[in-house]
Symmetry: C2
Subunit: 182 residues, 2 copies
């Protein structure tokens, strides 16, 4: 859970990054920007900000905004039903640098630095995305990612997004955002 004041602070800083990158969002998109802390209460370490451009029953497009060294925690998108094999997604770095981790040969000197809940990050094959860099994740694959020292903006193109079916490695994570009004 994070306070309304913290959420507003994260949104403001994300907006500054969007402006630096030359990416325009509407006032309505700003007001609806998600500040995801996964229920851990340490959003500057584990969390990210999300602007959903479109999410319909066929495809989804979002902008993910990550402050310096913010980390999206390890998770996967399992099959949802007999006809839905789970969310498929493509990450495209627009600004900054992203360190993306998937199953495979672990990086010897990973660029990501974890100070919190490191035990819940289990895959360490490293993919470095710089602006123009892009990666499409195989289905139902564990992944996590961290922004570099300047932060990062990532366009996510995907099939329909239904965050509530995501499976996180960290048992304490709650995906639905909780903001404490005070």
């Amino acid at each position: 859970m994070i306070t309304r004041q913290k959420a507003e602070d994260l949104k403001k800083r994300s907006m500054q990054m969007l402006e630096t990158a030359g990416i325009v969002i509407t006032d309505r998109e700003y007001s609806k920007m998600e500040t995801v802390d996964c229920g851990l209460g340490i959003p500057e370490a584990i969390g990210l900000q999300i602007v959903v451009y479109e999410n319909n029953d066929r495809y989804c497009a979002k902008e993910l905004i990550m402050l310096p060294r913010q980390t999206c925690p390890e998770h996967r998108h399992p099959p949802v039903s007999a006809t839905n094999p789970g969310k498929q997604e493509t990450f495209r770095c627009r600004y900054g640098e992203v360190y993306l981790y998937v199953p495979g040969e672990p990086a010897k000197k990973p660029k990501a630095v974890l100070k919190e809940r490191k035990e819940y990050f289990t895959v360490w094959k490293e993919i470095v995305l710089k602006p123009g860099g892009q990666y499409t994740l195989p289905l139902d694959t564990l992944h996590w990612f961290q922004a570099g020292d300047k932060g990062a903006i990532i366009s996510e193109f995907s099939s329909t997004s239904s965050d509530e079916t995501d499976v996180f490695t960290d048992p304490d994570i709650k995906r639905a955002p909780e903001i404490k009004e005070q």
Copy 2:
């Protein structure tokens, strides 16, 4: 049909617009950039440039780059099969200005200016998209669009793209690109 030299010229000018807008593409994406003239041979009037970021069996993401006053001609995406109701698409203006036309009450003073093949543009309800502006098209709907005086860059988010099933109003249009080597 356009010459290789014209195609290279259109690509270079498109690249300059991408750079102005702060959008990075890779060398490979540049080399594969499509210069679409629809077989009419007047690409600066009717045509556009396309970078396909991802097109898989569930979703597609492209960047559409339009030089000043370039026009994507009128077309629709009809149902493809019993299980595929046709391409659904969302346009998001990233740079410049776009005048998008769909069926409905015709604009009294449309912002688009047509000098070529005007008889094949039949829908005139106007939607103006500026950076951050976005529009999701109803299925199987006739549409066409023109960039403003600065040109335009449009992110297209969609279901799977299969251009060969598009239906154009202009009977002389061929969607598959033809470049004359000389």
